[in-house]
């Protein structure tokens, strides 16, 4: 057929069809104007092939080739990255706003004012040292402080729990999304015929899922055409490969072995063990060559419990925990019965031989792992180095990154600092209180602090003792009183306790040498001549569950008091103290004081060993703590010297600065993400005015095409009429 009526007719049909297709697509665009993730579609129409004829090539009309969607993959990949980053900070900001309000003391009373109130009550006690109602008020104010610190800690811990459940949800959502993306990949590759059949709706759906995934975790997308679509984390861990989905896992604390190639520990299947929890990940490295106490270099110390030592890092081995000289701190690597305390954890190892450089990565918290099909699971929880940079092998974006960062590096830090506040208040008050005296002498005191290993030197990590670092060389003296009269039984200063020295002989306490058992023995050995030539021990000490207990040997004849202590032992063991507890969560006023106000120490034994009701030395010294610079440190931060109030104020400043900083970062990242989103929207979004004019345009072309057909029809009628 050259050209004729039929040709016009079929051209008209083609044009009609094309306009119809266009109207259909325009209608679809209008319908989906508010559908999230919808990309504007358009019909690609081309001229039909022309034929050679007279007078030359003649067009054959239009043909519709395919329906495409407007979508810019390059803008999208930029958007995904920024979106992940904005989510990381948005999530943190929404949580930090809450923390910001927890520490808010702008218009209400909080820990800061409770602290002031407690010191105020001590000051009042220094005015009225033997007044019971003043003591009662002090007790109440101290309990208020304890309660507000404990409650704040509890709120932070509850928030941490909430973070864990949010992380778990995110991991589940991410796993589902990965499955769905894999399934979509399968469907898309089944129906995709490039240039002819575009699964636009499926691709829109997939892009929406990918966006959702990018909001949870940092991802990188590689689209190499039909059937070759993969999503991976920035660190290269694959999440979806074509139609295969990988998995993320959120699981509890664990130890990962990272042994050197030739480590003998492999043969014995040995590993590290721990007790306790911390929000940092510990990297433990074995050291078999070191300089011993005598300054000699020793090598080959590779036996657990027989000389092997280890060092500890909390930033994956970049920096190590050091001693005051800046050298890495070496801990004894022992079996379970000789566990040592490093940081917040008690660590021990299976028996066997280790090699220098054997590493163990200890995650004393729940973490997110990437499950590989071949090599087990890999910890991908966000890790931030001391310099503030991200470990790029871990999660660095998305809400998961935000939640993990918030849980481990913000909440964790605040809890550490709050612990430091509680610990410092406990220590400083107890240190003064423990050498003071109340209104009556003591008959029995039970230590409140537990020593993990009673046969290890108290000052060493092996003792597993909270206040190990605070002990000093020196000695203690006890006064002995007649419980009825309250007068000293023996001349001042009373009984000095003498410690058995390693080289024989008796002498002072040395934290690097003496164990809790030595302390108990020294107290038990203290005795005096009762005037008849017989030596009597007025009190005895024993160890109950790692705590020291001292009691009068005859409650009718002897009571006692602590008249001097340059070692810090009384405060460290919790004898004659005001507060108990060693962290924000355990911080409390000593229970004995609540039952007996007389045990609050306002004074201290004077130069003749008397305890007098008008003496307020101890109360005054404790009241003065409010403006005294003291040494405050967390487990991992360098100690600072400032007042307790100022330290707490700096915690509030930190929370505020973090909140303000994250708010700023979140706003910036979100603005950029929003801009990229707008750029994609510019390309793929629907403009109703445009669609409206298209509709009119295609309606007109439809009318014209129809006219073409009626014209052809009329032409045909004319032709047929010729015959009649």
């Amino acid at each position: 057929m050259a050209f004729g009526v039929n040709s016009v007719m079929s051209m008209g049909v083609g044009a009609l069809f094309a306009s119809q297709a266009n109207i259909q697509v325009t209608g679809n665009n209008i319908s989906n104007v508010n559908t999230p993730g919808y990309s504007r579609q358009a019909v690609v129409q081309t001229e039909k092939a022309s034929i050679n004829y007279n007078p030359g090539q003649v067009g054959q009309g239009v043909q519709t080739k395919e329906i495409i969607r407007y979508f810019d993959a390059f803008v999208e990949s930029n958007f995904l990255q920024k979106y992940g980053s904005s989510q990381r900070y948005e999530v943190q900001y929404s949580q930090l706003r809450y923390v910001d309000s927890i520490f808010n003391e702008a218009n209400i009373d909080g820990i800061g004012s409770s602290l002031d109130e407690m010191f105020k009550a001590w000051n009042k006690l220094s005015q009225y040292p033997n007044d019971l109602s003043t003591r009662e008020a002090l007790l109440a104010k101290s309990q208020t402080l304890a309660t507000s610190i404990r409650n704040t800690d509890q709120t932070l811990r509850a928030l941490e729990e909430q973070m864990n459940s949010m992380i778990r949800q995110d991991v589940n959502t991410a796993n589902n999304l990965m499955q769905e993306i894999a399934a979509l990949n399968r469907e898309i590759s089944a129906s995709y015929l490039e240039g002819r059949n575009n699964p636009n709706e499926l691709m829109d759906t997939r892009d929406a899922k990918v966006r959702e995934l990018a909001g949870i975790i940092d991802i990188h997308v590689e689209d190499r055409g039909p059937g070759a679509y993969s999503v991976s984390m920035k660190n290269g861990n694959t999440l979806v490969q074509n139609d295969i989905a990988f998995k993320l896992d959120f699981k509890g604390a664990g130890v990962e072995n990272n042994l050197t190639a030739s480590s003998p520990y492999k043969a014995t299947n040995g590993t590290a063990h721990f007790a306790g929890s911390d929000h940092y990940e510990y990297t433990v490295e074995m050291v078999t060559e070191y300089t011993d106490e005598d300054g000699n270099l020793v090598t080959g110390q590779d036996t657990i419990g027989g000389g092997a030592k280890f060092k500890v890092s909390i930033d994956g081995g970049k920096t190590w925990l050091t001693n005051d000289n800046g050298d890495p701190l070496l801990f004894n690597a022992n079996e379970e019965n000789g566990a040592v305390r490093a940081g917040e954890l008690d660590l021990w190892f299976d028996a066997g031989q280790v090699a220098n450089g054997d590493r163990f990565v200890i995650a004393p918290k729940s973490d997110v792992y990437w499950v590989s099909t071949t090599s087990g699971s890999v910890n991908i929880s966000t890790q931030i180095y001391n310099d503030g940079s991200d470990n790029s092998l871990r999660i660095t974006g998305g809400s998961l990154g935000g939640l993990l960062e918030f849980r481990d590096y913000r909440l964790g830090e605040y809890r550490d600092r709050l612990d430091a506040v509680a610990q410092t208040v406990v220590w400083e008050v107890n240190r003064i209180h423990s050498t003071g005296a109340g209104l009556e002498p003591l008959q029995s005191v039970m230590g409140t602090y537990k020593v993990g290993n009673t046969s290890a030197a108290l000052g060493s990590p092996d003792a597993r003792f909270t206040w190990a670092d605070r002990l000093q060389s020196g000695n203690m003296t006890f006064a002995v009183y007649n419980p009825e009269t309250g007068k000293p039984t023996i001349p001042y200063p009373g009984l000095e306790v003498m410690f058995q020295q390693p080289g024989g002989g008796m002498g002072n306490f040395d934290p690097a040498v003496h164990t809790l058992q030595d302390v108990a023995n020294a107290i038990n050995n203290a005795s005096f001549d009762d005037g008849t030539g017989t030596m009597v021990s007025p009190f005895s000490a024993n160890i109950i569950d790692g705590k020291l207990h001292i009691q009068s040997s005859d409650p009718d004849k002897y009571a006692f008091g602590i008249t001097g202590d340059t070692t810090g032992l009384a405060a460290a063991l919790g004898l004659n103290t005001f507060f108990t507890g060693e962290s924000a969560s355990t911080f409390a006023v000593h229970g004995d004081l609540a039952n007996n106000l007389n045990l609050i120490n306002a004074g201290r034994p004077n130069g003749v060993g008397e305890i007098n009701p008008g003496d307020a030395r101890t109360a005054e010294d404790i009241a003065k703590l409010v403006s005294k610079a003291v040494t405050i440190s967390t487990t991992w931060n360098k100690p600072t010297s400032q007042t307790i109030g100022d330290y707490y104020a700096s915690l509030v400043t930190k929370v505020g600065a973090d909140t303000a900083g994250v708010k700023f970062t979140a706003a910036t990242e979100t603005a950029i993400a929003l801009d990229l989103h707008d750029r994609q929207e510019e390309i793929s979004g629907v403009n109703l005015d445009e669609e409206m004019s298209n509709l009119i345009k295609f309606q007109a072309s439809y009318k014209a095409a129809a006219k073409l057909i009626t014209t052809a029809d009329e032409m045909l009628q004319v032709l047929l009429g010729l015959k009649q």
Binding site: Y128, G614, E681
Partner: protein, 545 residues
């Protein structure tokens, strides 16, 4: 600038714009309702921290102010009752002086002196009452022993023995103390034997008589127990106990010489031993006169190395010998701590060529010496030794500044004297305070003089009264000085409070003018975004089709 504007972009930009303006508006509204610039830490993190510190500082200043008020109470009371009010110690002493002058004149009869003694007894009791003054339930002159009266009435023995020439080992005031019993009148005790007038005998062997009516009638006093071992020191001379009416008097050396009196002669020079058992007051409080030093020694250290301290210590001080710097010059490095060894401050002194080693420490000096070979210096083996200075403490001090405290009490013993059982002196009975003129002892003797009609006693006491009044005036001046210091500290404190409150207000309070301007601006901005959004929203091609 968007190249292609879509419905999605338009609507999200409307809502975003409205929300941004509205949230800034609300933020200003929060500031307006609380009148605070900083409503949560993130508003201004640095100020939020400083506000806490500033509030804490204000609290401390309030504590100091509170302490100053309390201290004022103590010191005003002391000032009033010692010197400035009616019935004050000085008032009473002036009246006593008038009485003493009267009694010291020769024209006064025995009955007149007795009458004077009645009034003196009243004043004496009044003075004890004053010495036992309480402030808010606490006895202010008893040192740290605030829960008991500073003084109780007691008895003491005044010994007048002008035997010439004095026999060897003659008795004196210190030879006697009263261990039990009571009397309402001065007892006059004399060694008496009509046959032995003028001769001397050992106190334990002598015979005695006593009178409770100033020498009008006499009764026999007897040595009821002889050769008693001194409970404080078994190697000291043996003691004896004399029963004088209802009073038991202990003589510290039964071999001390007493001289028999001549009953016909009155109290005069060279007429035997006249002993007056008369009233006094015994101080029940404590003192801050001295300190005890103890040591903690490492093993191998010289056990004979001991410390003694001199100075005015208000708190316990620990001293540690750290190391010896070979020099030259050779130095002893040592540390001291005023908080039981929590914090140590290191310093050094040049090592002397011979001991003892004198170390300056807060409050005074610590002297380290070898007991068994004085002058020996500490050696390397002694390093690590700690010495603890435990002062007797009696001062009640209030904190009136970060490093400033003021003593609010005076020790009764330093004003009124009386007897005091010094702790740690090895004597288990009270002895007279001898640091200065002793008020209660002087008045006790005055009463004795009145009740035994002793003109000489009045004359002696008259002189001593001037000394007593000088002491009281000195203490009044001391209290006045402390009050002045409180007043000036208080003024400075109030000024500091003002400036701290100013600083706090600068940090946390909102600037109303600025806030109101800002609110107006934000209102305009919000209105305009609403207006422009609504105008655009109404536009659509559909309207024209």
């Amino acid at each position: 600038m968007a190249l292609r504007v879509t419905q999605g972009i338009m609507y999200s930009s409307f809502t975003e714009g409205m929300n941004r303006n509205l949230s800034a508006y609300m933020e200003s509204n929060i500031q307006s309702s609380s009148q605070k610039r900083v409503n949560r830490p993130s508003d201004d993190p640095v100020s939020a921290g400083r506000i806490l510190s500033s509030r804490s500082t204000l609290n401390q200043l309030k504590n100091y102010e509170d302490n100053i008020k309390e201290a004022m109470g103590w010191l005003n009371l002391a000032d009033n009752i010692l010197g400035s009010a009616d019935g004050s110690v000085l008032n009473v002493l002036q009246r006593i002086k008038v009485l003493a002058e009267e009694g010291a004149t020769g024209s006064v009869t025995a009955d007149n002196r007795l009458q004077i003694s009645y009034e003196l007894r009243q004043h004496f009791e009044q003075l004890i009452n004053i010495a036992n003054t309480e402030f808010a339930g606490r006895h202010i002159f008893g040192g740290h022993k605030t829960d008991q009266p500073a003084y109780v009435q007691g008895l003491a023995v005044t010994c007048v023995d002008t035997t010439d020439p004095a026999p060897a080992n003659s008795i004196n005031n210190a030879s006697f103390h009263v261990i039990a019993g009571d009397t309402s009148k001065t007892l006059l005790l004399q060694p008496y034997d009509a046959a032995k007038t003028g001769t001397s005998a050992a106190a334990g062997d002598a015979s005695y008589r006593y009178s409770d009516d100033g020498g009008k009638t006499w009764k026999t006093a007897t040595v009821v127990e002889d050769n008693i071992v001194n409970p404080d020191d078994p190697s000291a001379p043996l003691q004896c106990r004399i029963q004088v009416g209802g009073v038991q008097v202990m003589v510290s050396d039964r071999n001390a010489a007493v001289t028999y009196v001549n009953p016909d002669n009155a109290h005069a020079t060279n007429n035997g031993s006249w002993l007056y058992v008369r009233p006094t007051a015994v101080y029940q409080g404590d003192d801050k006169d001295t300190q005890v030093v103890t040591g903690y020694k490492p093993s191998g250290a010289n056990a004979a190395l001991t410390g003694t301290a001199e100075g005015n210590f208000s708190r316990d001080v620990a001293v540690r010998l750290d190391s010896i710097d070979a020099g030259p010059p050779q130095k002893m490095l040592y540390s001291f701590s005023t908080d039981d060894g929590s914090n140590w401050t290191q310093t050094s002194v040049p090592m002397p060529t011979t001991g003892p080693l004198r170390l300056p420490v807060p409050g005074g000096y610590l002297t380290v010496d070898d007991e068994s070979s004085p002058g020996a210096l500490p050696t390397a083996a002694d390093l690590g030794s700690q010495f603890l200075v435990h002062p007797h403490r009696a001062e009640i001090a209030y904190q009136i500044g970060a490093d400033d405290s003021i003593a609010v009490n005076l020790l009764g013993k330093d004003i009124f004297g009386g007897l005091y059982d010094y702790p740690g002196d090895g004597v288990s009975h009270p002895v007279a305070v001898t640091d200065q003129a002793n008020l209660f002892e002087v008045i006790g003797n005055l009463i004795a003089a009145g009740e035994t009609n002793s003109q000489q006693g009045f004359q002696e006491a008259l002189e001593a009264l001037d000394g007593v009044m000088a002491v009281v005036r000195l203490r009044v001046a001391e209290v006045g000085g402390r009050e002045n210091r409180l007043i000036s500290t208080h003024d400075a404190l109030v000024a500091r409070q003002f400036s701290e409150e100013d600083k706090l207000s600068d940090m946390e309070d909102v600037d109303i003018t600025e806030l109101m301007t800002r609110l107006a601006q934000q209102q305009t901005a919000y209105n305009s975004v609403l207006k422009s959004s609504s105008m655009i929203m109404q536009m659509s091609l559909v309207n024209f089709l």
